[in-house]
Amino acid sequence: MPRFESYGDGVPGVNPEELSGWLIVIEGTDGVGRTTHVSRLRAHLERLGYAVAETGLSRSDLASRGIRRAKEGNILGSNAFNLFYATDFADRLEHQIVPALRSGFVMLTDRYTYSLIARAIVRGADPDWIQQVYSFALKPDAVFYLRIGVTELVPRVLQNGGFDYWESGMDLPMGPDLYESFIAYQSRVIAELDTLARGYGFETIDATQPVDEISDYLATRVSALLEPADRSLDERRAGG
């Protein structure tokens, strides 16, 4: 049985049998500490001797510039934006994630399809449709969802430079006030992520805990996930 499979028909031209490695996803809203935890997890895994690669939203060679330009001008239709993100994701899946897995890397991804599905649903996309659009995605080995309530999120966002136009859903008719729009928008995104967490079986982590506790926990969980593949090697080393 191949190590990986897609939710749907898969990626044209990609044979899942060729993929090894691990695909680990950190999900969560903005300001929840994803970047910190991805970099700590990376350092931890590299200490253990694993080759690690990273990717995150709108970091594709193909579409990142276009998305940035479209955001600057807010001149793209809302559903077109959803599909632009899907294009970006597909490019990263094919050119970053798949090659890394082929080489046996641990692929850490700072958000996956789920955040994109959530933002699309909040912007009016049909949940069933947008999930089918993303059905070519590979099922990750694990999804860790750093969850936080919107009230706990506010001070963190202020600390990190304040409210972002898009992360506040200002493109949506939620009113002209940035703060109120942020609250309304993020509440809906969190609600959608909670629904997806149940549907896809994320492991939910309370992101209000101290940072060190969370990163220790993630390190332990991911090590445990990677360990079975190494056990035979360890046993051999120990002399059976």
């Binding site: 044209p12 276009g66 559903n79 599909l83 490019d91 069933d128 449709w129 059905s135």
Partner: protein, 237 residues
Amino acid sequence: MSEHASGTYGANGHRFPGRLFIVEGIDGSGKSTQLTLLAQWLRSEGYPVVFSEWNSSSIVKATTSRGKRRRLLTPLTFSLIHATDFSDRIEREIVPSLKAGAIVLADRYVYTAFARDVVRGVPPRWVRTLYRFAVVPTQAFYFRVPLEVALKRILSGRPKLKPYESGMDLNLHADIQESYKLFQSRILAEYERLVEEYGLTVMDATKPVEAQQRILRRAIKLHLEALRPGRAHHAAV
């Protein structure tokens, strides 16, 4: 029209006051000429006409061009970037125009994607789901032409073929012209399936231009009876 699986394109028709006519066919079928003539006629009759072209949204176009120029596009991203562009046109051009009661003419529509993407190996069901947001046209015309005729028109007039439109990414043939021929023949076969599946109106594209135009106008007229031409809207759109 045939039955379409729920959750895929074609399951729901539109109820906007406007009309949407689209033309499809391989390169060299003469569809664009026919559509241009149709637009001129409709405008002269006083109808508000909006002309929508495949691959025309400026922001997305920059990304598509970049992907093509640098050969970054795979079957999957080729499909998605064109769907992105098309979605932008649907949202910001086609639907508002239809709501305003315009006659929208589209040179190529979702069927181009269905034919081309499936030839590239994208699952047929997935691409039909992807385009579920698209408005179903009032009438869709397929300009059927034998491969040899189309190739002759294209290859005699425009020798510079582009890699993606020739399907060079599929490794069908090392020679671009040979690859183009093979790619077009596969697209043609896929179009024939779509004629059945979506009940496209078949036009004989080997007939003289003016004869085809007469047939096209006659067909379109049937859908315009309830629409009143208004000179006032003429310049607005």
